[in-house]
């Protein structure tokens, strides 16, 4: 990010100087400040609303209930983890927290899951296949309800911000499945290499 930011900003200064748009450049600087405040004002409302709702879910323990339901599926994916090992529970909880968009709860649960997986890892300085599987599923599966995105669409006057929910859901499911496929493909290639 450092390099990208530096290159683009410096490039803009040079371009502005060459094309005689120094005035516009300075104006844009202040416009940027204004725009950033505006966007964050929208976001305060949207994000607070979502955090308030998901806090209720967290407090009433609904994700623990749901994890009992999803654990068998996870055991199927993570075959090398002995049944009943706490890693499975923490992995399931983390993925559920992600799907429900409880970001605050997801990261600590994910770190706990990683610690559990590390205990099963034969080479502690190298990532294990189960860890990779966990991270790949984690990065590919995202919120069931993309609340912030819908909120921003609504703030900018969309006629029907809800309509992006279905395509987002379909895209998430397809990309999560292909992500696991890609991981298995890479595993095959690397295992052959030794």
């Amino acid at each position: 990010m450092n390099v990208i930011w530096m290159v683009l900003v410096c490039l803009s200064v040079l371009f502005a100087a060459v094309s005689g748009r120094i005035d516009e450049f300075t104006k844009a600087l202040f416009e940027a400040g204004k725009a950033a405040v505006e966007v964050c004002m929208f976001l305060v409302g949207i994000v607070s609303l979502w955090l308030g709702l998901t806090k209720i879910l967290e407090d009433c323990g609904v994700i623990y209930k749901m994890s009992n339901f999803f654990r068998p599926v996870m055991s199927l994916l993570f075959r090398n983890i002995p049944p009943g090992h706490p890693a499975i529970t923490n992995i399931t909880l983390n993925l559920l927290a992600n799907v429900l968009g409880i970001g605050n709860a997801a990261t600590p649960l994910g770190i706990k899951a990683m610690e559990d997986l590390q205990k099963l890892n034969p080479k502690p300085d190298t990532v294990s296949f189960e860890m990779m599987l966990f991270i790949v599923i984690n990065t590919a599966s995202v919120q069931l309800i993309p609340f912030t995105v819908i909120g921003l669409l609504a703030s900018y006057g969309s006629q029907n911000p809800n309509r992006i929910m279905l395509p987002t859901f379909i895209a998430t499911v397809i990309s999560a499945v292909t992500a696991v496929g890609i991981l298995l493909l890479y595993k095959k290639i690397y295992d052959r290499k030794g």
Partner: protein, 175 residues
């Protein structure tokens, strides 16, 4: 598809109804819980504000200096044949690195193209279906002190790329 699309319209209201009703049935103090959770919101936004500002400075000055028009032609030549709006390219590039930065670019797209345009819809789906991959890898591997990540990064990058292509295809098919 139309029916399914309509069913998804009910998702947010139903979600809110279920959350509050279930919480109440479980004797959770729903009002207090809501307020406690919502209190965190402003802290998160204060946290991301400087990032959003940095991205806006980058994007706005880039546009104002004329550099944007110059490079747009170059990008359009590369992405045009794929039927991809050049802005989609930039959001796909930034999202795996920083959520706040992607949010900045996303709102800029909404402003210039209108919230109901095809470009905005594609960008919205990418925003909703892609993760900040590098952040997750750094935090999770760092937490247990792993230095050798084997083929994890190439897998995640390939998966991100596929995810963006899937987002474009799905939006094209549905809208």
């Amino acid at each position: 598809m139309e029916k399914l699309q309509q069913a998804f319209q009910y998702l947010i209201p139903l979600f809110i109804f279920f959350t509050i009703a279930y919480g109440f049935a479980k004797k959770t103090p729903v009002y207090e819980s809501f307020v406690t959770g919502a209190k965190e919101g402003i802290n998160i936004i204060i946290g991301i504000f400087p990032y959003v500002l940095a991205i806006f400075i980058m994007v706005k000055t880039f546009q104002a200096s004329g550099a944007h028009d110059f490079f747009k032609g170059v990008f359009a030549a590369a992405t045009g044949p794929l039927g991809l709006p050049p802005e989609v390219f930039s959001i796909g590039l930034v999202k795996p690195m920083s959520n706040a930065a992607a949010l900045g670019i996303f709102t800029e797209i909404l402003k210039t193209h209108g919230p109901d345009s095809l470009t905005s819809s594609i960008a919205a789906v990418i925003m909703g279906s892609a993760e900040t991959t590098f952040y997750v890898i750094a935090v999770y591997l760092g937490a247990v002190g792993i230095r050798k990540s084997r083929y994890l990064v190439p897998v995640c990058l390939t998966a991100d790329l596929v995810g963006i292509m899937v987002a474009v295809i799905v939006v094209r098919m549905l809208f």
